[in-house]
């Protein structure tokens, strides 16, 4: 729980610095879209490199890396990937853009988005795990 809270605070601090200094919302989905499809590539590439490097530092310091599920169907991961990419682009934000930043600026749109993906996520996990038995 301490790590979760500390991680959350660090994410909040990063979002704060990014907004205060660079004037932008630290939303990962929009950073990815910007780097993939626009000409404004340098800052989002650096931001993404930063994320990978920051994460690498944690694991290099002895943080336990996630162990992949050996029996989880790959087609479900592929389907999920497409849905996450398309969905967050369409909604213009994901957990960071709508969740962390949008709620931070008290945006009603972001509140609706966050409640939607949380509730649909809860329902989906229930169906996948307990009706189809995929874990």
């Amino acid at each position: 729980m301490v790590n979760a809270l500390l991680g959350g605070v660090l994410i909040g601090v990063a979002a704060t610095l990014f907004f205060w200094l660079n004037g932008r919302i630290a939303g990962i989905s929009s950073v990815i879209v910007t780097v993939l499809f626009t000409k404004d590539r340098l800052w989002p590439v650096l931001f993404i490199i930063g994320i990978v490097a920051g994460s690498a530092i944690f694991y290099a310091l002895g943080g336990s890396a996630p162990i992949p599920r050996s029996s989880f169907p790959s087609w479900l991961l592929i389907l999920a990937g497409v849905l996450v990419g398309y969905g967050t682009a369409l909604a213009r934000g994901c957990t960071s853009g709508h969740g962390v930043c949008g709620l931070g600026r008290l945006s009603l749109r972001s509140l609706v988005a966050t409640l939607t993906f949380l509730s649909v996520g809860l329902l989906t996990t229930f169906i996948v795990r307990h009706i189809f038995g995929v874990i």
Binding site: M1, A56, G81, V82, Y86, R92, T116
Partner: protein, 157 residues
Amino acid sequence: MANIIALVTGLIFGFGLAISGMTHTEIVLGFLDVTGQWNTSLLFVLGGAVSVTVTSFYFIRKLTKPIFVDKFVVTEANEIDRPLVIGSALFGIGWGISGYCPGPAIALLAVPNWELLAFLPSMLFGYALYWYLPGHRTQKVGAAATKSKEAAQPTCG
């Protein structure tokens, strides 16, 4: 300077994501699965992050401009429209199936595994699908937000 800031804030963001445990699908899905042993970590992550941003954004929004660039890039959109709800629902389905959202998927590039190999390219394909299918880039939210070229960029929130 703004580019250095992007790198440094990314670094803090990535370290935060990794230490928070959000790259572990068993923790994320352990939260989304409220039956059985409920894992409340995600509440602490989101709660910790939002309590910081709610406080700091309140003050930042009073500023006329950011420190290192000329203006804030924030959408003025406030409509609850179909793309917002449908997109969030589709994201929720993908998140609920896999346990991955975009940030952790990127952070996981530091310690990639076979799951990421299946998920990440598919996610990028999903973004391409959105970008290249007709209609979406002219959706009302973007057009209403700004008339500049930046309208094509999804400024979140």
